[in-house]
């Protein structure tokens, strides 16, 4: 149920305000996926190393092969990791002992153990 239309439906409150149960007094059986978005920032340290090296060597890449390589590896690893977690989340596999659960898994758990009536 939407909250705002429910409030509008009530009209102007008059003292003393009688209690009215507009929404049911229980938690929703699901969570939204909105807060699950993680930051996209990665490899900042490696990037800074690359920048430092490039600046030192007047933007000659051949001089900074090591830094560039580690930077690129970091990025590919990050992408790979992201892909793997996404796959797993999509499948909804529960990881035992995981503290921060993605919303899909939470929803699954909540569905498994619904509110008592």
């Amino acid at each position: 149920m939407r909250i705002l239309p429910a409030l509008w439906a009530r009209g102007n409150p008059k003292e003393p305000v009688p209690f009215q149960e507009i929404l049911p007094l229980k938690l929703r059986p699901f969570v939204s996926g909105k807060g699950d978005k993680t930051s996209n920032v990665c490899c900042l340290y490696e990037m800074s190393l690359v920048f430092g090296c490039l600046k030192e060597n007047e933007f000659k890449e051949s001089a900074c092969g090591r830094e560039i390589k580690s930077f690129q590896e970091c990025f590919t690893n990050y992408n790979k990791q992201k892909y793997i977690t996404k796959e797993r989340e999509a499948k909804g596999i529960l990881t035992p002992g995981e503290k921060r659960l993605p919303y899909r898994q939470l929803n699954k758990l909540l569905r498994m153990y619904p509110n008592e009536k």
């Binding site: 978005k37 996209n40 920032v41 990665c42 900042l44 990037m47 800074s48 933007f59 930077f71 590919t76």
Partner: protein, 227 residues
């Protein structure tokens, strides 16, 4: 098996028979494998006995640029496709071939000018090797992406995938080839650009370095990424 179900079987049976691919645009069902057109790969498969297994797997038709020629090169096919306008592949391929011809001519001229045998050996005469080298040299390691923060758009340096950097590299090389006098042929200019890029000089490489410099200037924004 496929003749009757349209009349007799339920929808369920039908869906079991056909698995439509994800994108819905391919003419092939998803279980079709891609063709193995390279001669070497085929020989390897036959040696290892894998070919026996693949012999009866439904296979897609080879595309028209996938040949078993010994001169087949995936990267150059890609370059042809990037160069192509309005689906005119004939022209694009012609231009790339003429570019390779020009590269060979320029390099051979250098080769014949040198007196020393050792130095002669160092001249790269393979146009494909030069193109590969040029593309590798022009690949950027970072790119800038515009991100709006508090009403201000910042150009934020972000890491780049290999595929995108390869695309940018070829795009810049082609753009560099197009920046020319009206009387100069594209393939001539493109050949010079490729040779320059293979030597880590030239306009395309300059463009990459400019991007890197810009990224370095905007390094402070690096932690702004979309969140």
């Amino acid at each position: 098996m496929f003749t009757r179900p349209l009349l007799l079987s339920s929808k369920l049976e039908l869906t079991r028979c056909f698995k439509f691919p994800q994108n819905g645009m391919s003419q092939y069902p998803s279980y079709y494998i891609k063709p193995i057109y390279s001669n070497d790969k085929q020989t390897d498969l036959i040696k290892s006995g894998e070919a026996q297994k693949l012999a009866h797997v439904p296979t897609r038709a080879a595309l028209n640029d996938q040949t078993s020629s010994i001169y087949h090169d995936d990267l150059i096919c890609l370059l042809v496709n990037y160069l192509m306008k309005d689906g005119n592949k004939l022209l694009a391929r012609d231009l790339v071939e003429k570019t390779m011809e020009k590269i060979k001519r320029v390099q051979l001229e250098k080769y014949h000018k040198l007196a020393n045998e050792e130095e002669k050996e160092k001249v790269v005469l393979n146009p494909r090797a030069i193109i590969h080298q040029a593309i590798t040299n022009v690949k950027p390691i970072l790119q800038l992406t515009p991100i709006k923060r508090g009403g201000v758009t910042y150009q934020v340096p972000v890491p780049i995938t290999d595929r995108r950097s390869q695309f940018l590299s070829m795009k810049w090389l082609i753009e560099a080839g197009n920046e020319k006098e009206r009387t100069v042929r594209f393939y001539d200019q493109f050949a010079y650009e490729l040779i320059d890029a293979a030597n880590n000089t030239g306009r395309a490489v300059k463009k990459k370095q400019d991007l890197h410099k810009q990224c370095e200037m905007n390094r402070a924004y690096a932690h702004y990424r979309w969140s």
